[in-house]
């Protein structure tokens, strides 16, 4: 009979849950993790990781069409969608196995099944309708994540109308594709399928693509996408989808005008809803608002001893935010010194479209709305030697400073590899550097990162290379 009494139980093995469990074990807590499907959650199995594998393929495809520019020639360039997908699945599988190993290594007890709160300090686990175990712990961390939202009339069918999940395992690249929603998920798929040869249309209800990004970045991205050949409709909605044998007819409404679009497939990327159902929240003090669990700054729910983290809790819907919440939650429980609540302004966000987009902190508008007297810096990739050498001159960095204190309020980037660069600004923000420290920092030449330095210099009227 397996041990059923723990110091802490985590429900859900995604990037929030498994990190929380490992951290708890590191802190000396006897820890259990309950997961019904796959370690690493959506992120690792159906999100961040497999899409990056797919996008690597589409990046190569894109480069293969630019061979002449770099002095190569090749004939008969083809790809096998099955192999592209198989590689992506293999990557996910490898990493998921890695998580299982990490849990074992940290002596986290793992329970395979569906967990439900079952009274104070108790969690019942069942598999295929059969009870597996009844676990007890003083602290239970809910990390059940989220799933794709569907809108009335736009329900996915798994065939013509996909969610992210089907979009990740296509048997072939569709000739034409409609992507509903231009957030990070929608735009990444739009970019992938476009670079793999599909004719892609994006419909966004708000007035710009990547609507959470800085307005200038959104505008830059849109211009770039349209130049590549993506069709983008903002301020528009998909009112209805009519399926036929070979295609889907979408009725797109924009400013009172209707139009129809025939596409082979549709991807719905209109947000997510929290997995709050069937986990035993009924008759507890856990409050749920708009499909997400309400928590305080230490991730405590309204029910003593029950905590919630990650996508289950609230935006931003990011794996690294979930992981960090898991750590904060568990360290707080363990009484670790110097634990600080999550600072949402220090959470970077990355979108792996082409060109890539990355940001941290406040947009210019948010900063102005918050009453800051801002200092804004810009720097284009065209002024950067490495970007030109790479053949990636399209991009821009934007910095937002508090003119009074020199605090870096936000940084916004679009261009090649900016998802790998944003951590520099994130470290700067986390360490609370001011413009002085950033200006004094020596950035290596020649690198794309020099654009980050220049964008700081520009905010203070000292830009060198533009």
């Amino acid at each position: 009979m397996a041990e059923t009494s723990f110091d802490l139980i985590v429900l859900g093995g995604g990037p929030g849950g498994y990190v929380a469990a490992i951290r708890a074990a590191q802190l000396g807590m006897k820890t259990a993790l309950v997961e019904r499907e796959h370690f690493g959650g959506i992120c690792l199995n159906w999100g961040c990781i497999p899409t990056k594998a797919l996008l690597r393929s589409s990046e190569i495809h894109h480069l293969l069409h630019r061979l002449d520019e770099f002095g190569f020639s090749a004939k008969d360039i083809r790809f096998d969608a099955g192999k592209v997908v198989a590689r992506s699945r293999a990557v996910a599988k490898q990493l998921s196995n890695g998580v299982a190993y990490l849990l074992r290594k940290n002596q986290v007890a793992v329970f395979d099944g569906h967990g439900r709160l079952a009274g104070k300090g108790r969690l019942a686990v069942e598999k295929n309708g059969q009870p597996v175990a009844e676990l007890a712990a003083e602290h239970i961390v809910l990390a059940t994540g989220a799933r794709a939202r569907s809108l009335p009339g736009l329900e996915p069918d798994g065939d013509r109308v996909w969610t992210y999940k089907e979009a990740m395992v296509p048997t072939a690249i569709p000739q034409s594709l409609l992507v509903v929603g231009s957030g990070a998920i929608g735009i990444e798929f739009a970019s992938f399928y476009h670079d793999m040869g599909a004719e892609v249309t994006v419909v966004e209800v708000l007035d710009r693509v990547l609507p959470v990004e800085d307005e200038e970045i959104s505008a830059f991205a849109r211009k770039s996408f349209e130049k590549q050949g993506l069709r983008i409709h903002t301020g528009a909605t998909v009112a209805a989808l009519e399926r036929t044998d070979k295609s889907v007819t979408a009725r797109i409404e924009r400013g009172g005008q209707g139009s129809e679009l025939d596409v082979e497939r549709v991807i719905l990327a209109v947000g997510i809803v929290g997995n709050v159902e069937d986990i035993g929240l009924e008759n507890t003090g856990v409050a749920v608002e708009k499909s997400h669990v309400v928590v305080d700054q230490w991730l405590r729910t309204g029910e003593p001893g029950v905590y919630a983290i990650g996508d289950l809790v609230g935006p931003p819907w990011l794996a690294h935010k979930a992981s960090h919440e898991g750590v904060i939650c568990v360290e707080r429980i363990a009484g670790v010194n110097d634990v600080h609540p999550l600072d949402i302004r220090n959470i970077p966000a990355c979108t792996y479209c082409r060109p890539q987009v990355a940001s941290v902190g406040l947009t210019e508008k948010a900063a102005r709305d918050a009453g800051y007297e801002v200092k804004i810096g810009h720097f284009p990739f065209i002024g950067n030697g490495k970007a030109i050498a790479l053949g990636e001159p399209e991009g821009m960095i934007k910095t937002v400073f508090d003119g009074k204190t020199g605090e870096l309020l936000g940084a916004h980037m679009i261009g090649a590899e900016v998802t790998e660069l944003i951590q520099g600004y994130t470290i700067a923000k986390t360490l609370e550097t001011t413009e002085t420290d950033l200006i004094r920092t020596i950035f290596p030449h020649p690198t794309l990162s020099e654009t980050m330095h220049e964008a700081v210099l520009d905010a203070y009227g000292r830009v060198i290379h533009f």
Partner: protein, 451 residues
């Protein structure tokens, strides 16, 4: 978080010392000012005082331990209400940064500690523990943003408890200090009187929240003219604290006397012409005269305590020496028993080493009486602030040719004005006057000084 009690620097050159004796044991309750331990260097034995109230949670360095680096933690103090379990998180971390640091930070430490004890004239008046943003070597750990915000708001970082990693002061701490300051009663609380929150291990010299005299406030009072800042070093803070304390708690009164020094100048020239082995200054005559006058009027060689007036057996005269950024008071011990040449050579040596930062602890801490001479700047007369626990300080002006009336006729003499500041609790006006009269007799008839 428990407060680290650090190995204090007892002299400018001290880098390590021995823990001679613990006077408190684990579990003992201590109050600010209690003597915790005796520290011993090859030069002296000194006491470590508690700076905060609390309970000795853990003694990290056992009695008899030798070669403990300055600023290494020697014990952990639990603040009021803090559980012993809080020690668990601190104890393992403590050996790392502070004890490992000195080897790498030797130059900086040397520099900072050399400034530190300069103005402490009483033993163990150095902070034995530091506020949490400070690691004991004077360096305050704060984020650049926190630094700038504190600067703008006129907050003293030393007064702020850091909540970031390893006690680093971060923006949130400044925000908290600012909102606490805003939430405080309308009248800005005088820092010294404000009770220190029991749990906050703030430093000994600084108020818990915003300083009453922030830079911004001072600048505003001046009408916001442009200015440059000189950061406060430890010496400057000690000067500010001790002299403020002196002026506020010691009832000063002042007596001025004029002495004609033509005879003294003549003898000085003659003596200096006789040998190259010494060069006697006017100030050396003043030291000798003051020492002999104190011997003649022992009631003036006195210090106040709440229990008794202490009449000192010896006459140890502290001589104020200006440094680039402050002052130090090396001591001519038993000055009444030393000849002019001895005083001259000793003073010269002390002043040179004081300016080089090479004085030993016992050479500048203590004394029974002070002399401050600004005559070389042409100052005619001034009144000095008593350096506790001394009962008096003699402020010496320039020797100037002035018209004097002698036997009803106007004539010219070189006159030196000296002003005695007395602690009225220990030295009354008549005693001060007797001392000055004796001093004047000696100065005006310098041959009597040579006896």
């Amino acid at each position: 978080m428990p407060i680290e009690i650090l190995m204090p620097a007892l002299s400018p050159t001290m880098t390590e010392g021995n823990l001679a004796k613990w006077l408190k044991k684990e579990g003992d309750e201590v109050h600010s000012g209690d003597v915790l331990a005796e520290i011993e260097t090859d030069k002296a034995t000194m006491e470590v005082e508690a700076v905060d109230d609390g309970t000795i949670g853990k003694i990290l360095v056992p009695e008899g331990a030798q070669g403990i680096k300055v600023n290494a933690p020697i014990a952990l103090l639990l603040a009021e209400g803090e559980e012993a379990s809080a020690l668990r998180d601190v104890a393992p971390a403590s050996p790392e940064p502070p004890s490992a640091a000195p080897s790498q930070q030797e130059p900086q430490q040397e520099r900072e500690t050399s400034a530190l004890p300069a103005v402490t004239t009483g033993p163990a008046s150095l902070p034995a523990s530091a506020p949490s943003g400070e690691r004991g070597d004077g360096r305050i750990f704060a984020s650049p943003l926190a630094r700038r915000m504190a600067q703008h708001a006129g907050l003293d970082l030393a007064a702020i408890r850091g909540s970031g990693p390893q006690g680093r002061i971060v923006k949130a701490d400044i925000d908290a200090a600012l909102s606490a300051a805003r939430g405080a009663p309308a009248a800005p609380a005088p820092p010294a009187a404000a009770p220190r929150p029991a749990a906050a291990p703030s430093g000994p010299l600084v108020p818990p929240a915003a300083p009453a005299l922030s830079k911004e406030r001072v600048a505003a009072l001046a009408g916001n003219p442009p200015y440059t800042e000189r950061p406060l070093n430890a010496m400057r803070r000690v000067i500010a604290r001790r002299l403020t304390e002196s002026k506020q708690t010691v009832p000063h009164f002042y007596l001025t006397i004029d002495s004609e020094i033509d005879a003294l100048l003549k003898i000085r020239a003659e003596l200096n012409a006789k040998s190259e082995a010494y060069r006697i200054s006017v100030n050396d005559f003043v030291i000798r005269a003051a020492a002999l006058a104190l011997r003649q009027v022992p009631a003036a060689n006195a210090s106040w305590s709440d229990e008794a007036i202490l009449l000192w057996d010896s006459v140890d005269i502290a001589v104020a020496v200006a440094l680039d950024d402050g002052l130090i008071t090396p001591i001519v011990k038993a000055a009444d028993r030393k000849g002019l040449a001895a005083i001259a050579n000793e003073t010269k040596d002390l002043v040179e080493r004081a300016r080089a930062g090479k004085l030993k602890l016992e050479e500048f801490q203590g004394g029974t009486f002070s002399i401050s001479n600004l005559g070389m700047y042409g100052v005619r007369e001034f009144a000095a602030v008593i350096n506790p626990p001394h009962g008096g300080i003699l402020a010496v002006g320039a020797g100037q040719q002035r018209p004097v009336v002698k036997d009803g006729a106007l004539t010219v003499a070189t006159v030196m004005s000296c002003t005695l500041s007395c602690d009225h609790r220990a030295v009354d006006g008549a005693v001060g006057a007797q001392f000055l009269a004796a001093f004047k007799r000696l100065v005006e008839d310098p041959l009597t000084m040579l006896l």
